[in-house]
Subunit: 197 residues, 2 copies
Amino acid sequence: MKSEHKQSVKQPTRLGIIDAAQSHIYHKGFGATSYANIAQETNLRKGNIQYHFKSKDELLQAVIDQQIAGIRQQLESWSLDCGTTYDCVERFIAMVDANADNLSRYGCPMGTLNSELGKDHREQQHQAKVMFDLYLRWLEARFSAILPRKTARARAEQLMVMAQGASLMAHIHEDPEIVHRQSALMREWLSEVCAAR
Amino acid sequence: MKSEHKQSVKQPTRLGIIDAAQSHIYHKGFGATSYANIAQETNLRKGNIQYHFKSKDELLQAVIDQQIAGIRQQLESWSLDCGTTYDCVERFIAMVDANADNLSRYGCPMGTLNSELGKDHREQQHQAKVMFDLYLRWLEARFSAILPRKTARARAEQLMVMAQGASLMAHIHEDPEIVHRQSALMREWLSEVCAAR
DNA sequence: GTCTATAATTCGATAGAC
DNA sequence: GTCTATCGAATTATAGAC
């Protein structure tokens, strides 16, 4: 109970490094992210960053952990004041729609990271995959309110497919309108799913 | 008319390099592909490869050009003996479905390459994007047989979104069944699109 | 905790022998 | 056309001063 003291509670430098790394990995990819890049963005020296994270993989793990924590918190807050199944799931679609600009510029943070790690860092991709499973299980739980378990799982998967496909296509064409158009289609689809209960 | 002679017609070494590069880029990503990798897979020396391709970007361009040519040829053959709109478009879905194993292992060749290049090689991504536009325009032309131009374009985009989303999700979960399930849903969707004419 | 200095690789690219 | 040799730059990672 008295183990952590002083800066171990906050660790502002460490958190700043993680933030800068997350941003750079999102914008340029993990392979194109070096200690030198993060040192520049944080105004720290390279050696300092390497003191906090002995290897690039360790830093990547910290970034993934922070993203997972963020998603957990987001889904928790979404679960609090949920209305109908439509209203709940629509929040997910609204989030995608609201991020159209970033999605078209840099792709989906989860999708692009997992896609890259799936090629040459399969071990760490297994950790990053948890982000997807969190969304999938949350969506499945919402659909389970009005659908059989197996159908609910299929609908959750289908929505994730549409969201990821929309993000990828928007990123490739650098066009946020693709996200907007596909978000509208997702809402139509959701209406039919909820109506056909 | 008499400009090309000897090995300039075939260029087996050059083509072998392109094939090895395409394979390695697909499996490991462009950033993780080096001259040394390709030299090993082709049993050539690094200097030889660099004689044929002065820079990595030049090699990447050759790989993209070959992929574009392959898609052009594929779509041309698909256009020959096309039946109904459903039968035509279903060929696209069948192609996705038949490649479920590779898609789940390495992702979609177009999608993952464009996704990576979109982050730190935007200029070359503009060339790679042509692959998407070829499929999109071909699908749009098929849907145009039974739908207004604007609607046809929307349906083509929607199908590409589903196919790319399915590939990404299957890659992330390393599960070809996701491709099979989503292919079935694409066929259902296509039936409704063609029926609601 | 922060920083400098440097080791140890690896990579892209060039020059030149054969 | 093919290959050897090498340069210069960038990278991860380590050792040690402050």
